[in-house]
Amino acid sequence: MPETAPAGTAPRRTSGYRSPTAPPRSMIVTRWIVLGLLTAFTGLPIYVMATGSLKPLRDVSGEFRWIPSGLTLRPYADIWHTIPLGRYFLNSLIIAGGATVCSVVVAVFAAYAVSRYSFRGRRVFTVTVLSTQMFPGILFLLPLFLIYVNVGNYTGLQLYGSRGGLILTYLTFSLPFSIWMLVGYFDSIPKGLDEAAQVDGCGPVGALLRVVLPAAVPGIVAVAIYAFMTAWGEVLFASVMTDDRTRTLAVGLQGYATQNDVYWNQVMAASLVVSVPVVAGFLLLQRYLVTGLTAGAVK
């Protein structure tokens, strides 16, 4: 296709108003076809979620309609009563927030050590941490469950069924990626910077907090988004490690959508409400993710 474009096309355009890299027409047509199809594929479920949440019940239980027969905000009011959505929400917020904060703090120190120091076991640590990414969750689900129960029996520290236990679990899920990405990011910050700070009398921690961290904000934001999204969306451990009090949105919503008689408009409304915080946060901060990845991981 674009291969057949005459070789002279691009240079000729330079004499006009475009750079030599300006694409030929066939490329532009291809671009709009492909991007159009991708837009439809990506946007369809989002459209269904948004319109479905505003439809009256008869619209979502009968044959699918592209245009709602009427609009109603009832589903948004009903979701808080049909299931204890508020409690799920609070639980998810505490768990994902806690996991994010802890994960970022732990990852910053670990990544700083790996990036700035050469020490025995550095490579072993990096490889081990990264390889935990490939562990099937199912392999350590039950052992972890047993460990948490036993820790509770011996020390009285309630990990099973508590929010703390899930925070602990989730923060390690995002840790490998966070460390890996932050190492890359810290590596891109000149070491002379924190050397200078240490010469000026900062300790190593001072250099990290006052010099390196401010320069690494995009990387840290990217890591925080990742950690929050990981914790907010996890299903497997949430379904085994929580009880009625600590149930998260993941478990609650799944139950909501798999009842015998599903109120699809309410389920769509709940899905939308649950998604808005993460999607909005992600979209607002995604440029940090791209810069963070560009500077750090993808090199």
């Binding site: 269904v48 640590f125 039950l142 919503l253």
Partner: protein, 330 residues
């Protein structure tokens, strides 16, 4: 640059005395420095040990035990069975082994297709959006949305779309396009494979898009300008500049996508609950069922260990092979 000096100095600090040690306070500082990196690593290390490594070892131990529901309260007393659980898991003539093999085959086919399609769509979109155009920022935000959505909401919305009577998919396929004689079922039976694949690709291609977009930003623009002046067309630039430059990024991206997809539990679990149809019985959910539905954790652990060994093997072969390919082309 200055980057090499600090590390050299520290490396020297560990073994031989550093070239120019600061007088008096030097010794004290060096000792602190020696333990400092470990102190920084300690929290991460402790957490990884608690949540990943120790449970994994416990899991491996469990795979050698006859851990059925009778021993779940005090699993220490479960009898040792040697390789018994493994024999059950790989005995393809018996039902348990045959089911595991079928699930493994389904997972392989699913992973190949899902990773291939996600990578293809992500690369196509990233390359086509390499040049700035009006609305690119908005389009990028839209494309990244599936990645930002929590897994379970995505799956729930797709489940609604795949409903037999009131779903969008059947409305389009049957009512509007008349492609099928009757309304197909998507969430049970053979079509469930297609449904699962669709959701997986929908969720994962934005990640490929994101990573490749980031990777493209590291390619110097003047490479394109120089090649355009030399008469290279878009297609040739893609093959001669873009794809080779992306190779290191792709090496990691494809591996990560592979591991995530192969291990994926969330999508099939939310979609089918505990009982996936045979055609969509991915290995993670299969093992979960084998453990929690039949309460035989010994066999379940043996299956998990086999899965881990398989993934290690693939990674161990993949990394050197791709590195060698990269080295040869460079």
């Amino acid at each position: 640059m200055t980057t090499t000096t600090p590390r050299l100095r520290r490396a020297g600090g560990k073994g031989a005395p550093p070239a120019a040690p600061p007088a008096r306070r030097g010794a004290a500082r060096r000792i602190r420095r020696g333990s400092l990196p470990y102190l920084f690593l300690l929290p991460a290390l402790a957490l990884e040990l608690l949540v990943h490594l120790v449970p994994m070892i416990v899991g491996i131990v469990m795979s050698f035990k006859g851990l059925t529901q009778f021993y779940i309260r005090n699993w220490n007393e479960a009898p040792w069975t040697g390789l018994g659980n493994y024999k059950v898991a790989v005995d393809v003539d018996a039902p348990v082994g045959a089911d595991l093999l079928r699930s493994f085959t389904v997972t392989c086919a699913f992973t190949l297709l899902a990773v291939g399609l996600a990578w293809l769509l992500g690369t196509a979109a990233a390359v086509l959006m390499q040049d700035a155009f009006r609305g690119r920022g908005w389009l990028r935000a839209l494309f990244l949305t599936p990645y930002a959505l929590p897994v379970y909401t995505s799956v729930i919305v797709w489940m609604f779309m795949f409903q037999h009577d009131n779903g969008l998919v059947n409305h389009v396929v049957h009512d509007q396009l008349h492609l099928t004689s009757g309304r197909p079922f998507w969430l049970i039976g053979d079509n469930s494979f297609v449904a699962l694949l669709t959701v997986s690709v929908w969720r994962n291609w934005p990640f490929a898009f994101l990573i490749i977009t980031a990777g493209l930003q590291n390619i110097p623009r003047d490479l394109y300008e120089a090649s355009a002046i030399d008469g290279a067309g878009v297609w040739r630039q893609l093959r001669a500049i873009t794809l080779p430059s992306l190779r290191p990024v792709n090496q990691v991206l494809v591996l990560v996508l592979f591991l995530w997809t192969f291990n994926d539990f969330n999508v099939p679990f939310v979609m089918f609950g505990g009982s996936a149809p045979p055609r969509a019985d991915l290995i993670s959910v299969h093992i979960y069922q084998a453990s929690f539905v039949t309460w035989n954790f010994g066999t379940g652990s043996a299956m998990s260990v086999l899965l881990l060994l398989f993934l290690l093997l693939v990674t161990a072969v993949y990394l050197p092979v791709t590195a060698k390919l990269r080295g040869r082309d460079a």
